[in-house]
Amino acid sequence: MSEYTATVTVRLKQGVLDPEAETTQRALERLGFELGDLRSADQFEIDLEAANADGATERVTEMTERLLANPTLHDYDITVEEQ
């Protein structure tokens, strides 16, 4: 068994309104910054033991599909690194 850290990024699907990101963008613009667009995402870092990277990815994918992301709202990607 090896130790892995998986990083799960959960972001809104294209076309789904992101009112918090819009508010944040407006606040940056009020501070005088110029920017084209701002998107927000949630990121989770999960430490776990697994036989190999594929095994770690499989378990984290299940965690993401069952809880961390809502398929109506979100897309996600997962990267796994050995510690």
Binding site: V16, L17, P19, E20, T23, L67, N70, T72, L73
Partner: protein
């Protein structure tokens, strides 16, 4: 015959709902989630509140608590289930009903009265109203924007699974009358079967004369018809 009102940590409309149901003659029981459903459960309310602090997404944690397996099984046997506000968010997170309720277009918590148009009066929850009727209910939510894929929404419309839409006082479905940016102004929907329903507005808060209106009683009376 007992309508179980499921209490999660952070539910806060549970007692109001029990009182409203009892006023209408139902036997209603506060049911702590860890205790499971009462043996004689004949109806289930997932009440409003802020279960588990709305962590991750509103309703996400409660939707995955063990009692929801019992709720799903009961719903599968035909037991009527109504999710209100946080209960609606839980119902969608638990896939009892389609879509998701997410952050309001305003990015703010909104507590106000809204007008709703009855879209389909052939369900237990709306049979006490006329189709097209306009009713005034309160909302109180930060995550009430109904979001769903366009194809799935078209399917819901075609199958008459929309219960209520936000409208103006004349029953016109307009963007100005849409308090939270919900797709197609949807305020409440049916699950796969008509005895399963969720809605963001609060019928229990307009069910006692002392509260100034009893317009919401018709929804709760659905437990006698479902």
């Amino acid at each position: 015959m007992t309508v179980a009102v499921v209490q999660f940590g952070g539910s806060n409309c549970d007692r109001d709902t029990v009182q409203a149901l009892e006023t209408l003659g139902f036997d209603a029981e506060l049911t702590w989630h860890a205790d499971g459903l009462p043996a004689d459960t004949s109806g289930i309310v997932l009440p409003g509140g802020f279960s588990y602090g709305d962590y991750l997404r509103a309703g996400a944690m409660a939707a995955r608590s063990p009692i929801m397996d019992e709720v799903r099984e009961a719903a599968g046997r035909g037991t009527p289930v109504l999710g209100i506000c946080n209960g609606a968010q839980i119902g969608c997170e638990a896939s009892l009903t389609p879509g998701a309720f997410t952050i309001n277009r305003s990015a703010r918590f909104q507590c106000e009265h809204v007008y709703l148009r009855v879209e389909n009066d052939a369900t237990p929850w709306t049979a006490n109203y006329d189709e097209g009727a306009v009713v005034e209910f309160p909302i109180a939510h930060g995550e009430g924007r109904f979001e769903i894929g366009d194809d799935e929404l078209a399917g819901l419309e075609a199958d008459d699974r929309i219960l209520f839409k936000y409208c103006d006082e004349n029953g016109e479905i307009t963007e100005a009358a849409n308090p939270n940016g919900s797709k197609h102004n949807v305020a409440g929907v049916l699950g796969e079967a008509e005895h399963i329903a969720v809605m963001m507005p609060h019928p229990e808060r307009v069910s006692l004369p002392e509260l100034g209106s009893t317009a919401g009683r018709g929804v709760l009376r659905g437990f006698a018809q479902a």
